[in-house]
Amino acid sequence: MLRSPAFLIERWQLTHVSTLIQTLIVGLRLGSIYALVALGYTMVYGIIRLINFAHGDFIMVGGYTMIFTMPLALALGLPVWVSVIFAILACALVGMSTELIAYRPIRKKGTSMTALITAIAVSMILENLAQAIPPIGPNPIVTSQIFSTGGFSVAGVTMEWTTVLTIVISAIVMIVLYEFTQKTRMGRAMRCVSEDKEASILMGIDVNNTILLTFGIGSGLSAIAALMYLGQYPKVYTTMGVMLGLKAFVAAVLGGIGIIPGAMVGGLIIGLVESFTTTYVSSSMADTFVFLILIIVLIIKPAGLLGKNVGEKV
């Protein structure tokens, strides 16, 4: 017996629309985190053409700083997320020290490849150093609940406020960063350094300080990413930044590395691909598809989705 199309559509809606929305929400949740992390990658790359592989580990630094400063925030009668202020300071400090101790001397002596390898080395130093610090140690630590749960419901599926907040914060950070690089003196200096270092020096720009500031901002962003990540996935461990950083890097490349809105677009796409693969293709193939998408996009558009194909000035 054939059923009327209206009935079938209604039935399809009942069983599938909520699954679709749930998948979309999980994708946005993951994607918003990737976007926040990708902003840090893209920012540093945009200025000094260095892929800072240690960026993922700055998130770990931010996570542990928050864990250790949460009791302090509580003791002062403040909400736990206030500890992110300490995390921003700690991350910016670690980021700027990395630039001063590792990247700057290497840039003077070596090529962009040596700088890249140094970034990988810094990443591993941070992971192993963290493990050697007794209060951190090798055990993962589960954090306290950072944001109160709750949200609004669409078709019987709950969208958590934390997810909405992460997306809003990513968007705000993106806009502020973009405006900062376009409108302010420091931002203009950053763009100048990015285009031509020697000419910047002739123009009276302190190149070293500009790069240092870029690292400070980029690393500080990773603390905000850590806050939003822990708000949804409350576990900190020393290698937490590895896969997160890699996927965010992929997101930055996908959107067009060095382009600030590209990081946001790329992050959300990666998150959605991961989530939709889990639901509709195979739950164990999510990562396969993420990296497959990267390869396909790079073949079609080598400069990334928002990138322009221009010859690089060497």
């Binding site: 999980v26 990443s123 591993m124 493990q131 306290s144 996935y233 290698t239 889990t278 990562d287 790079l298």
Partner: protein, 406 residues
């Protein structure tokens, strides 16, 4: 130029990933295995090697093993040792990484150690079972439950039951509670999780329980399980078997399953041991109600054997021993009994003593004999989490001595 650069970036990224995978390595040099692995017991002391994940995501298991082995050895030494010889322990870290586990094994063997307790996880232990048979070194794993760990009468033994038993108990429990349809969420890339899924679904077929939906994750590093449990909820299931370890069950799996609208039973295995220490403080912990798991022993057991172990452990380390500790403790005493019987510490002689299926071991985790593969035949405890919303505690539900008939 641009294309080339991006390609090299991607390559570099892949390299970074593969490098960081071994980034946490403590350099354990793996020299060529010594020819005479039997030298371990030369002189007045007997050396037992232990392999455990002292660092990495399952580091809690590492300390569980090292503390319990130290307790057992100090008890044995205080009581005069084994056959008059004092016992010494050499520990090696496998970082919950199969490659590092093999390095740890080789390093112990090259030190002339022929009696090894380890490793803890099925994934790591499966990397060294072949090597143990080749080197003719006794390998007694306290807690690697995967069936594939030992299937023959060889040098590999264990102190725990196998997954075919553990998974079947969960299936029998589902049937006993009247569930006709069940679901599974598991990790396709992990020996332990996959092994439990296989044995659970095989037992479900035997008991006439229908495995209606199966979802998997690609690795144990996945942090989002929402889509998997949405699928379970959409399939109308009220019982889901989710064999994972405590470090994802506490912060991720259970809270996300409940947030996805899944309200039914979540059942797991011995990997859930330790979860109450891995939950987010301040979150609504009532989500942990209706979570059940199978375990090797219950620390609240009133038998004198269990209580004297729990009291001694608590006195020494100021915390309640988990099942891994109990099994590691039993493993040391199994070696003691085998060495006394063999009147030798030669790996071959100890192996023959352990391979005797008539020997009865009275341990913390039960009184048992080993079968022809070297796996104990013993019962399991079914334990549940209960929560008042602010903390999670465990409760003994049932003790299963043997599997019900189909």
């Amino acid at each position: 130029m641009n294309k080339k650069k991006l390609t090299s970036l991607v390559l570099a990224a892949c390299m970074a990933a593969s490098l960081t995978a071994c980034g946490t390595s403590s350099t354990k040099t793996s020299t060529s295995p010594a020819a005479s692995a039997a030298a371990g017991a030369s002189g007045k002391t007997i050396t037992i090697g232990t392999i455990s994940p002292n660092t990495g995501s399952l580091a809690a298991y590492g300390s569980a093993v090292t503390t319990a082995v130290d307790l057992a050895v100090s008890e044995i030494n205080a009581a005069g040792g084994i056959n008059g010889s004092q016992v010494k322990v050499v520990n090696a870290d496998d970082q919950f990484d199969p490659t590092e586990c093999l390095n740890a094994f080789n390093s112990l063997v090259s030190q002339g150690i022929g009696l090894i307790v380890g490793s803890v996880t099925s994934g790591c232990t499966s990397a060294i079972t072949d090597a143990a048979n080749e080197e003719k070194v006794c390998l007694l794993t306290p807690s690697a439950t995967a069936d594939s760990i030992t299937t023959k009468d060889d040098f590999v033994f264990r102190a725990c039951y196998a997954d075919s038993f553990q998974g079947a108990i969960a299936a029998a429990y589902a049937k006993q509670k009247g569930f006709t349809d069940v679901g599974v969420v598991y990790c396709a890339a992990d020996t332990y999780s996959k092994g439990l899924y296989d044995s659970f679904s095989a037992a479900c077929t035997k008991y006439g329980v229908n495995v209606k939906a199966v979802q998997s994750t690609a690795s144990l590093d996945v942090q989002d399980y929402t889509n998997q449990f949405t699928a379970m909820q959409k399939a109308g299931l009220k019982f889901v078997y989710a064999p994972y370890y405590y470090d994802v069950i506490g912060p991720y799996v259970v809270p996300q399953a409940r947030a996805a609208g899944y309200k039914g039973i979540i059942m797991g295995a011995d990997g859930y041991d330790g979860t109450p220490k891995y939950v987010a403080k301040g979150a609504d912990l009532s989500v942990f109600n209706d979570v059940y798991w199978t375990n090797h022993y219950d620390p609240a057991d009133t038998s004198t054997k269990v209580q004297s172990f729990v009291k001694a452990y608590e006195a020494k380390y100021n915390s309640t021993p988990n099942a891994i500790s109990a099994l590691a403790y039993d493993a040391v005493y199994m070696y003691k009994q085998a060495i006394e019987k063999a009147k030798s510490t030669e790996p071959q002689a100890v192996r023959d003593a352990l391979a005797d299926t008539t020997a009865v071991y009275t341990g913390v985790t039960g009184t048992f004999s080993l079968d022809s593969t070297g796996t104990p035949a013993k019962g399991a405890s079914i334990i549940s989490f209960t929560s008042d919303g602010t903390s999670v505690t465990t409760k003994l539900v049932d003790v299963v001595k043997e599997l019900p008939k189909a």
